[in-house]
């Protein structure tokens, strides 16, 4: 009860004219920043933290502004995923799988609307979970040790096989390439540089966002360049500028399932939003892909990862606030933001500054409401991007990619790296190799390896630690079940395709 009244207090604070203005302004600019490839939540927040000092906002207003920008950038990342096949940030990568095919089929408006509504549903469920169980879940999550996290990553990688699905061998190659790239840099366990060629630019490892922009944005530009030389591209026939409510309603269960899976992934501090959206997508695909429509523009393939991602971001607040452990890159940004406001998250935060905690939760939720209100009417405008001819659009994408990547580290080396990834991405796509498993390997591989090696350090090299806890055993059983189900479904698909062709 007390929690609810505190939460209500948080909402009351958000409803002052100044805070509402900040909320909508933050959402609007956040969306713009997020839609630009290379510019994401980190840039948005980093630019804003000094601004909030300069204007002398009180902590509540600053939190509202920063949360609005944060969720705005997250939402903006989807727009370029869906319309251009270029993910604006890491968790948005799963949205390209079905969002872009939907846009190609003229259903961009539907995809954007579903992504907006799913984000909202995911955030709602996360807020409910947060209000009810936060302290309890934080205490449960600490029992996840390195061996358990390793098992969780194994489960995640087992599900990646089901993503692109065309040729499992190519998926494997792609994921392995990602895992290999993830080993570049100073090994955080031993402190020794690996595969760096004594180039200190890569000592910190390959920045995933640089690889992401290169692989998707630059390779897309190369593809379009080739197409414009070889053939005149036909304009996409747009079914409708406005979304249909029926399409959104049809994805309601996918949204709920995605939210649940995402929330669980978010609560575990070693997992985070990227893992959340991956698991939501693959779980939904396993559940619903009866007619093989996933990957070809199935609305549920947009709804599930979007709900999962936002729900994971909300769930990740639990370990971040009550333990001070940022689960993912995005919560690390939030943590920096709180510290800049002189709030030190930790076990006593809920007791000592409850108004602040629930103020933050309320403002995150309000940001999602504001995004829904702001962006649904703007879908018509975004969809018209589809009508912009490629010769005008692509140079802009190229320019923004370069500026965005340069702004991360102020180094030209990252620009060269991005172009190299672009060329590599072009070649791999020519060989029909899906790039999504590669990026996931890069994003998740480092944590998977670190947790394995931490477990090994703890046990002094005894491999049996990996199956020594009930949590890891459960996760391995789930993995085995998942693989068995995938193989069964693949067989059935093959039989059906044979039957169809005869």
């Amino acid at each position: 009860m007390e929690t609810l009244s505190l939460l209500a207090g948080g909402f009351a604070v958000a409803f002052t004219p100044l805070n509402l203005t900040l909320l909508f302004a933050g959402c609007f600019f956040g969306t713009l920043i997020g839609a630009l490839p290379g510019l994401g939540p980190v840039n948005g927040i980093a630019v804003l933290i000094p601004l909030t000092f300069a204007f002398g906002f009180d902590p509540a207003s600053s939190l509202i502004l920063l949360s609005a920008v944060y969720f705005g950038t997250m939402f903006g990342g989807r727009i370029s995923s869906i319309l251009l096949n270029i993910p604006g940030d890491e968790p948005a990568i799963m949205t390209t799988l079905d969002g872009y095919p939907m846009a190609r089929a003229g259903r961009a408006a539907d995809a954007l609307a579903i992504s907006g509504v799913a984000s909202f549903v995911g955030a709602t469920i996360a807020v409910i979970g947060l209000s009810l169980f936060a302290p309890l879940l934080a205490r449960a999550a600490i029992h996840f040790g390195p061996a358990d996290y390793f098992a969780l990553y194994i489960l995640a990688f087992a599900t990646i096989g089901g993503i692109s699905g065309i040729d499992p061998r190519k998926t494997l190659i792609s994921a392995l390439l990602g895992l290999m790239i993830a080993t570049i840099g100073i090994d955080p366990i031993s402190g020794i540089p690996r595969f760096t060629g004594n180039n200190y630019h890569v000592y910190d490892g390959i920045e995933p966002i640089v690889a992401l922009v290169g692989l998707f944005a630059i390779s897309e530009i190369l593809f379009l360049l080739e197409k414009t030389v070889k053939e005149r591209t036909k304009a996409i026939h747009v079914e409708s500028w406005l979304p249909s409510w029926k399409a959104i309603w049809m994805t309601r269960w996918a949204m709920l399932r995605g939210s649940f899976v995402g929330f669980v992934a978010g609560v575990l501090p070693g997992a985070g939003a990227s893992l959340g959206s991956v698991m939501s997508y693959t779980a939904e695909k396993q559940k619903s892909n009866r007619d093989g429509t996933f990957g070809k523009g199935d609305p549920r393939g947009v709804a599930a990862p979007e709900a999962g991602n936002n729900s994971a971001s909300g769930g990740a607040l639990i370990p971040m606030l009550s333990l001070g452990v940022p689960g993912s890159g995005t919560t690390a940004v939030m943590l920096a933001m709180l510290i800049s406001l002189n709030v030190q998250p930790g076990p006593l935060l809920f007791e000592r500054q409850p108004e602040l905690v629930w103020g933050l939760v309320a403002s995150l939720y309000m940001a999602n409401v504001a995004l829904l209100i702001l962006n649904l009417p703007m879908i018509g405008i975004f969809t018209r991007l589809m009508a912009v001819p490629t010769w005008a659009l692509m140079p802009i994408v190229a320019a923004v990619s370069f500026v965005g990547v340069f702004s991360i580290s102020n180094s030209t080396f990252d620009l060269e790296l991005m172009v190299a990834f672009g060329v590599a991405g072009y070649i791999l796509r020519k060989m029909d190799i899906n790039l999504v498993p590669l990026v996931l390997g890069l994003l998740l591989g480092g944590d998977m390896e670190r947790n394995l090696r931490r477990a090994m350090s703890i046990s002094d090299g005894d491999w049996s630690i990996l199956i020594a806890s009930p949590i890891s055993i459960t996760l391995y059983i789930l993995t085995a079940g998942f693989l068995a189900l995938s193989i069964y479904l693949m067989r059935r698909e093959n039989i059906r395709e044979k039957a169809l062709s005869e």
Partner: protein, 325 residues
């Protein structure tokens, strides 16, 4: 002497601004590079020093903050050494972590390539165990580390050979353990990660900075065996120092700044005196404590000697445990 210092620095400022104008760039009174992403300790150093320099009118206009992550500071180090060694308007945030990297040969230029201006505050290293742990005192822990090191797992936020690891080993060596490689070390991504894993029963001992984990000490989840500082930490006066328990080891993670190695002595002295003014201001004392730091001043030649000595100690231990050859 004072007058000439001022005069030369003014002159060089005029010259610098003249040059800046001639390429039509906005006049920058000072620039601070944080060799990391926004949000971390180095970023805090730059942003806070920058803000207070403006508040105290130590600079004309504003202090520009540039984030240049890469190689745990190596990218910035190389850039300053190669391109801006004589740029007196530039200063760069660093800390004990940067010196560890230099000691282990991970930076593209040696310590002498830069001039170390001052440290303005430090996070204090602590050694902690879970509240339910049978280990009650630093003496208990040392006995185990010497007689049966394989029976405990130690952890912290740095890699093997990083500062959290090294200062724990300094304690163990002081206690009489010679083969430091026998002590098992697990790296986590942050001090709080390590502490929560200790609360979950995965590991036994954590060595890290106190700032990040202070909440767990106040809540009673963990017990601190020793603070690696000369004096007890003001916020936690009850925590005994290692020195008071007969182990003569300090492990500060100081925050400070360096500048290019080819600036003139006058320019260097100006920086030292400006930062000393900043250090003594109410603004800095408040900001540092809010960020969990203990304000500590070491500047000029005193600081350069301190940095050199710290590098030598780290290099020796790193060699002893086989992190470098």
């Amino acid at each position: 002497m004072r007058l000439t210092t001022l005069l030369t620095s003014k002159l060089s400022l005029v010259a610098a601004s003249f040059m800046a104008v001639s390429v039509a760039a906005p006049v920058q009174a000072a620039e601070c590079i944080a060799p990391s992403n926004p949000g971390g300790g180095w970023d805090f150093t730059c942003r806070t020093i920058g803000r207070i320099m403006q508040e105290l009118d130590l600079v004309d206009g504003n202090v520009q903050i540039t984030n240049m992550p890469g190689g745990v500071g190596a990218v910035t180090y190389a850039m300053v050494a190669n391109e801006r060694p004589d740029d007196a308007e530039l200063f760069v945030a660093t800390s004990t972590v940067g010196i560890t990297q230099i000691a282990q040969g991970r930076y593209p230029a040696p310590l002498d390539a830069m001039r170390y201006i001052a440290m303005l505050g430090a996070d204090v290293g602590v050694i902690a165990v879970d509240n339910d742990s049978p280990i009650q005192t630093l003496a208990d822990l040392n006995e185990i580390l010497v007689s049966d090191p394989a029976s405990v797992t130690t952890a912290g936020s740095s890699s093997a050979g990083g500062w959290d690891h090294l200062r724990l080993l300094m304690v163990a060596r002081e206690a009489g353990q010679e083969s430091l490689g026998d002590i098992r070390w697990v790296q986590f991504d942050g001090g709080t990660d390590a502490v929560t894993q200790m609360m979950g029963g995965q590991i036994d001992v954590v060595s890290t900075d106190i700032g990040e984990i202070a909440g767990f000490i106040e809540s009673g989840d963990i017990r601190v065996l020793a603070a690696l500082s000369d004096e007890p930490i003001p916020a936690f006066p009850d925590i005994p120092t290692a020195k008071s328990q007969g182990i003569d080891v300090t492990g500060y993670n100081w925050r400070g700044v360096y500048t290019g190695g080819k600036i003139t002595d006058a320019e260097y002295d100006k920086w030292v005196s400006d930062l000393e003014t900043l250090y003594n201001s109410e603004n800095w004392q408040t900001a540092a404590v809010e960020f969990g730091l203990v304000p500590i001043w070491r500047g000029g030649a005193d600081f350069e000697a301190y940095v050199r000595e710290q590098r030598d100690v780290m290099e020796q231990i790193s060699r002893d445990i086989g992190v470098i050859n």
